[in-house]
């Protein structure tokens, strides 16, 4: 089932919650709504479910307007953050109770319950009460309850955020596999960008009650349309610097100094007019070495080395500007000084207008040229 949202807005009294949300979610898509808390993502989910009314705007399920339809008439299933299981019913009874509205024969209900339990690997625990299960198992029951309805649309509201880190990673994979097997349209709300990036086929980034950008994980990562998306997507966060561009001299002046105490310069790719910008550079595009190799290298003091074994996140500093270099190798933990080489490719330098935060794209980037394999 395809979902269409047209100009949805929502106010609670005078408090705006959503502002002009328009989006299309394709049939069978794993669609993620991601944003910091208070960005309105859960509200969108509840408006789609019909649990709360939109102030204005419309919702279509496959061209059928459902804006005013009751939740039960929308034939969707939902998985909640706190699972919303009924504690006085067994696992199997919980799943069966969710079929209440479908008026199936007892044999059909039995089959659905058994199938759903098997899909989430809980067949052995059918007679347990939710309280007797671990958090991860409870969440699997909640998922089983949703898929047993065979709804074409499943909504999930931060389903993994009550689980511990390891379990969350496991459940992510299970949910992705489940979606591949069942091919229902899945709308998934999370505040965790890693979850969004690893699970979503397409992602809507929300902030400040508005859509910031919609795209595939790599589109968001490689071509953030504004400074918010740039810093929100990716871990560690994109480094942001206030820079001055001189188009005639083809240089970018960083808010740092070189070895001689003069303002540090790096070369400017074509297509960016002179002016002041926010420059975003992904930590993994910042190269770090112990000796200077080029005239554009910037000397830095090492503030902290976080060793991950296969990689290192090194916090470095120049002129009170601290930023992160994410290097794919081990870095000496006792190093005090180092040199930073900033990227020169247009695709790796993200310029944002200092007032609006909107991306200022160079001609090369507009043409879709990137350094990546994609």
């Amino acid at each position: 089932m395809a979902i269409q949202l047209t100009h949805l807005t929502k106010h609670f009294g005078d408090t705006p919650v959503l502002d002009d949300i328009t989006a299309t979610i394709n049939e069978g898509e794993f669609y993620v709504l991601v944003g910091p808390s208070g960005s309105g993502k859960s509200t969108i989910l509840r408006i789609i479910a019909g649990l709360i009314p939109a102030t204005s705007g419309d919702i279509y399920f496959d061209d059928k307007k459902v804006t005013d339809a009751a939740p039960k008439d929308r034939h969707l299933a939902m998985v909640f953050q706190n699972y919303a299981l009924l504690p006085f019913m067994s696992v199997a009874e919980n799943i069966r109770f969710g079929l209440h509205n479908l008026h199936l024969s007892t044999a059909d209900e039995d089959a659905r319950v058994a199938d759903a339990l098997q899909m989430v690997h809980l067949s052995d625990l059918a007679d347990r009460k939710p309280k007797e299960l671990s958090g991860g198992q409870q969440q699997r029951v909640a998922v089983a309850r949703a898929i047993a309805t065979q709804a074409n649309l499943v909504l999930m509201d931060e389903p993994l955020s009550n689980l511990d880190a390891q379990l969350r990673t496991e459940m992510r994979e299970e949910l992705v596999e489940l979606h591949k097997a069942l091919k229902m349209t899945l709308i998934y709300v999370t505040h965790d960008q890693t979850e969004a990036m690893t699970m979503g086929e397409r992602i809507m980034v929300l902030n400040d009650h508005r859509i910031q950008q919609v795209g595939t994980p790599l589109e968001l990562y490689n071509h953030p349309q504004n400074a918010f998306v740039a810093t929100f997507i990716g871990s560690p966060k994109m480094n942001m610097f206030t820079v001055t561009v001189d188009a005639a001299a083809k240089t970018i002046t960083l808010p740092m100094v070189d070895e001689d105490g003069r303002p540090a310069l790096i070369p400017l790719p074509a297509g960016i007019p002179s002016g002041t910008y926010q420059l975003g550079v992904r930590p993994e595009k910042v190269r770090l070495s112990l000796a200077s190799a080029s005239e554009y290298d910037v000397p830095v003091t090492v503030v902290n080395v976080a060793s991950l074994g296969r990689a290192s996140n090194v916090a470095v500093k120049n002129s009170d500007v601290e930023f992160i270099a994410d290097i794919a190798e081990q870095f000496p933990e006792d190093a005090a000084k180092a040199f930073v080489t900033f990227p020169t490719a247009a695709a790796d330098l993200h310029f944002f207008a200092p007032d609006t935060g909107l991306a200022v794209t160079s001609a090369a980037e507009k043409a879709g040229v990137t350094d990546g394999i994609a």
């Binding site: 479910a49 019909g50 039960k72 969707l76 953050q81």
Partner: protein
């Protein structure tokens, strides 16, 4: 060392229990003795029998009193369960104007002692012609501010998502109440129901002033009646009736203590 400590604890507990239960044990013992022994103060007499109980059942209306109490307490129990549940549901789940103000007004009535309400209530019931009848003994108690308050607190613990879930699967309000909220708050509901039953089983003042005949008189008033009848000072029989009246209370306390603990906590402690 560990055992010594535990032994001391148990000895103390048993002593205190004996102290607390002494009147009850004495009462049970006395109910088995002939009145002549009780009056003479021969409590160490071994002349025990169930004769007092037989006499109580045969010569006093105690069975009728107990029947009346059972009917009255049960009716009130059902009435309060229905009305307090519905009112608590409104306060916990619905949004309406002046909700907090109305709830506050409910709570204020809890601070008004029952004795102060007796005269207006009496006038109302008399005007309705309900004196000395089951309606007069039950209908004024079909709701209680305490019950509404206690159930509202319990209902507020029901996660909002369960309401959303029940909307999604198409449960109406009444179904949400009966199939989700009531089972979810089961221990509070059981506590409330048993508490209501006990309160009205032991009711004294209201039945005292509104009943004039044995036909509708409940146990507590009936017991007092037995004692005050001039010709009747058969203490053995009085003790036997008292023990019989006490039995349901004990039974409910023993069966319900698990829920009492859980239910009364559930109202007060969050989570």
């Amino acid at each position: 060392m560990k055992y010594a400590k535990r032994t001391i604890h148990y000895v103390l507990l048993i002593l205190i229990a004996l102290l607390v239960m002494a009147p009850l044990l004495l009462g049970i013992w006395a109910s088995l003795l002939p009145t002549t022994d009780i009056v003479a103060g021969h409590f160490n007499s071994l002349n025990i029998s169930l004769n007092n109980y037989v006499a109580a059942i045969q010569t006093t209306p105690v069975v009728l009193y107990m029947w009346n109490s059972l009917v009255i307490s049960s009716l009130i129990m059902v009435g309060q369960l229905i009305f307090c549940t519905l009112a608590a549901y409104a306060f916990a789940f619905l949004q309406f104007r002046f909700k907090n103000g109305i709830f506050f007004a409910f709570l204020i009535t809890m601070m008004l002692p029952f004795e102060a309400q007796i005269i207006p209530n009496f006038q109302t019931v008399r005007a309705l012609g309900w004196l000395d009848s089951y309606p007069g003994l039950t209908i004024p108690f079909f709701t209680s501010a305490f019950g509404v308050f206690m159930l509202r607190q319990a209902f507020l613990q029901v996660p909002r998502e369960l309401k959303e879930y029940s909307d999604l699967i198409g449960l109406g309000r009444l179904q949400f109440l009966t199939r989700i909220v009531l089972p979810y708050t089961r221990s509070t509901i059981i506590t409330f129901v048993l508490y209501t039953f006990l309160t009205h089983w032991n009711a004294y003042l209201w039945p005292l002033i509104t009943t004039f005949s044995d036909a509708h008189r409940p146990t507590q008033v009936g017991l007092k009646q037995l004692q005050s009848e001039d010709t009747f000072n058969n203490w053995g029989v009085i003790m036997a009736t008292a023990i019989m009246v006490l039995l349901p209370t004990l039974l409910i306390l023993i069966i319900g203590q698990r829920y009492f603990r859980k239910g009364l906590n559930a109202g007060g402690v969050k989570g």
